[in-house]
Symmetry: C2
Subunit: 527 residues, 2 copies
Amino acid sequence: MITGKNYIGNQLSAKGSKTYKTFNPQLNIENDPVYTEATLEEIDEAVTLASNAFKIFRTVSGQQKAEFLNTIADEILDLDDELIKTYCSETGLPEGRAKGERGRTIGQLRSFAQFVAEGSWVDATIDTAQPDRKPMPKSDIRKMLIPLGPVVVFGASNFPLAYSTAGGDTAAALASGCPVIVKSHPMHAGTGELVASAIVKAAEKTNMPNGVFSNINSSGIEVGTHLVKHPRVKAIGFTGSIKGGRTLYDLAAQREEPIPVFAEMGSINPVVILPEALKNQNESLAKTYANSITLGTGQFCTNPGLILGIKNEALSNFIQNLADEIIQIEPSCMLHPNIIGAYQRKKQTAISQPHLSVVASYEADVQTNYAKQAITTVEGKTFLDNPALHQEVFGPFSMVVQCENANQLEQIISQLEGQLTGTVITEPYEASKYTDVISALQNRVGRIIYNGVPTGVEVCPSMVHGGPYPSSTDSRFTAVGIHSIKRWVRPFSYQDWPNELLPDELKNENPLEISRLVNNKQTSDKL
Amino acid sequence: MITGKNYIGNQLSAKGSKTYKTFNPQLNIENDPVYTEATLEEIDEAVTLASNAFKIFRTVSGQQKAEFLNTIADEILDLDDELIKTYCSETGLPEGRAKGERGRTIGQLRSFAQFVAEGSWVDATIDTAQPDRKPMPKSDIRKMLIPLGPVVVFGASNFPLAYSTAGGDTAAALASGCPVIVKSHPMHAGTGELVASAIVKAAEKTNMPNGVFSNINSSGIEVGTHLVKHPRVKAIGFTGSIKGGRTLYDLAAQREEPIPVFAEMGSINPVVILPEALKNQNESLAKTYANSITLGTGQFCTNPGLILGIKNEALSNFIQNLADEIIQIEPSCMLHPNIIGAYQRKKQTAISQPHLSVVASYEADVQTNYAKQAITTVEGKTFLDNPALHQEVFGPFSMVVQCENANQLEQIISQLEGQLTGTVITEPYEASKYTDVISALQNRVGRIIYNGVPTGVEVCPSMVHGGPYPSSTDSRFTAVGIHSIKRWVRPFSYQDWPNELLPDELKNENPLEISRLVNNKQTSDKL
């Protein structure tokens, strides 16, 4: 049952007077529940609870954290229809997508549970003492990863489950031993509260300290700003726009004690189509990319917003084929009036640039909040000379750049901002002739795809979701997959610490039977 | 032979007009060689060379990088007496220390060589395709760590070899595949140039691309500022003061494309002496700590600047014993007039704080540039109320805080800024009664020591040198040990990439025979 209140630790609370509602973009009406924005006092209370909970939570065993995470998954499933209906009413997305995203969220929670239950993730490293070493004896030193402290998570508008309240950032932070305070996304506050209730139930059932999780309602920027500046907050996770992410990054960097911010932000996901592939697969590529560009109304961070080819007849044909294909696709609903507003504005800015041709633009009437797809094209030099053309248009929109030659293609790629993904479409015998192009692309992205589409982010250990700025604020980490836990931890050394006082991960007898680097050898043996 | 010029890639260059000399603090005179500060043009040239070199260097094999690093070590040894004499003339440190530090530097280079030659450090992770998976087929995804790009290293004044030109930061960055531009420390410009010549020789001998290394002279802040702001620079390593490190951190965070800064900065390295240990080991502890506080004239980042005990007769005795011991130690030379000037100023500020007692202060005449040690003491409440007492006094100085009880001790520790180390002096049966105190200490430091001294940083995989801010700007990394390589790399995914185009680390046949995570199982087998 949705109350519209904040979770300050395990307690529902609504001391404030500022309220707001969510919006159903399919019906173009506000949803009924009224949400109360958290007061500064409530925020401070949540952070204090988190800071106190951290003292206990950071010592909780991997097994117990796994139980907590698995129970969250169970409780989310238990929300059943209410969750799915609320999700759909707040996003305009279909039930199938809601259930798919729930499945992914559950999968993430369970995979982190398994990961921390097994326990080797702490990278335990042991160098035993050498008391007789000359000229100086060597101490016994043992290292492992430990959690940073309370983490604030800002969820994504386009993934109300998988990248929000109990999404990847929260799952990774809780798995690491960090309490989490979620700054609830105002566009899906109901979905957020329901998931928060599942987390709180799970925390109570598995005896986690009060404050291990809070869910803070907010409709503007004040709540988020206050959270990022709070001295007891130790790290930030964010998924959203470059503007929003950079604002938080700047706030965190300006603190007396700067804290790490992992913001997953904008990306136009360049796709390079090499000439032979373009010649041989022209129509099927057009169909594939028309679908990828419009998938989920273009509301994926890996949406292909930029297609690069070398100017010739095949490229002209491809542009026409892509236009023909995309125009046949039925427009669909965007998440929120604000998002469709931004889409229309940015699309308009893009297509009004000089020396640009619009090759496809859906013109028929559509329902309110439905997005009309468009494809544009420019010459390589035009693209190089005009940074406005490099900006993301979040929605079903893409631009084809017709490069003069491979040199210009490489030059364009080298000058792109950092991207989540890059894709190369090629015949098998062709790629090796374009090593400079591919190498330049690698240098600008976090993931490179061979003959596929960038949409669809597999959750697995080998996935990198992140990349050079501004696709993320710290390319040294991924936001997806179990290794995303590394954003929230730091290495810690014990020197000459007695065995009985060491954490289990570092004890001589290796009670957890984890894999450790002992005197430079990886082993699960006891010492 | 020292020329006083910059190395812009492999070329000696001195286009500027601003010159400076180094200083011999033992003789209290300037050294002869004249160094020419780099011009903005020379800096740009070095960065452009580094950026171009990166295109090649990032694909160089682990074996070749190992050869490069080992050859640097050989060439440094080849500098022989000239290096040792220059080092001593620029630091006032004795020959034994110079040779010890050279040994450490050589050891670091060789251990990184071994690490990258073996190759498993890239954390290769492979998830193979599942074309028949429902509802969606699964792609083949493979991940490894790749270098970030050109790294700028600012060396430490107190470690002209081990944390400077070819020190830990440089060795780690080169090992990772990042070209390095060293902002030479003006106080040991000669030592820096000699080591730079060894690196350049090694680069030429092992066919590394020109620009893989540059050494930039500078006497003020302009050169460093220009380097940090340069768009082609991708990461910063720094060892030095909080003020200097924070300035670079802020500059890097304010860039259009922010870049990571790992700055290892100030620390007062709290030492907690528990009551039973204090009672039983009073005199030996006083002797041990008098030595640790004055080791290297107190010029170590792990110098114990703060000793915490619970107020009683034993603590009073310890303070007196420590005072008696330290006053007998012969004062020694500091690195530079600037450093002794800062020491005298900060010591004066510290001892002029209200409600503070000076219990030891060396008063006899000493040679110019020699530091006079001092010990002070305050009550717990005085310390809590006055942040000026929490400041580092870099040199042979320490403060003993007499806490009311264990609660106040815990409170003081919780309110400390982040530290590189924390030490607990305890009887074996005693520590378990102070878990809250120890837990609070853990939360403020990167390394915790049991019954020892914080000085002496072992170079080994389990070492953490770094910690919560301001001891470092990013506690998620260490500055010492092979894992410090992780500061300069990012994960990168290949999706459905053909085997023959993958780097060796990710190929099916595992030609490097490295350990990889394949479908969630760690193995060195081929696929």
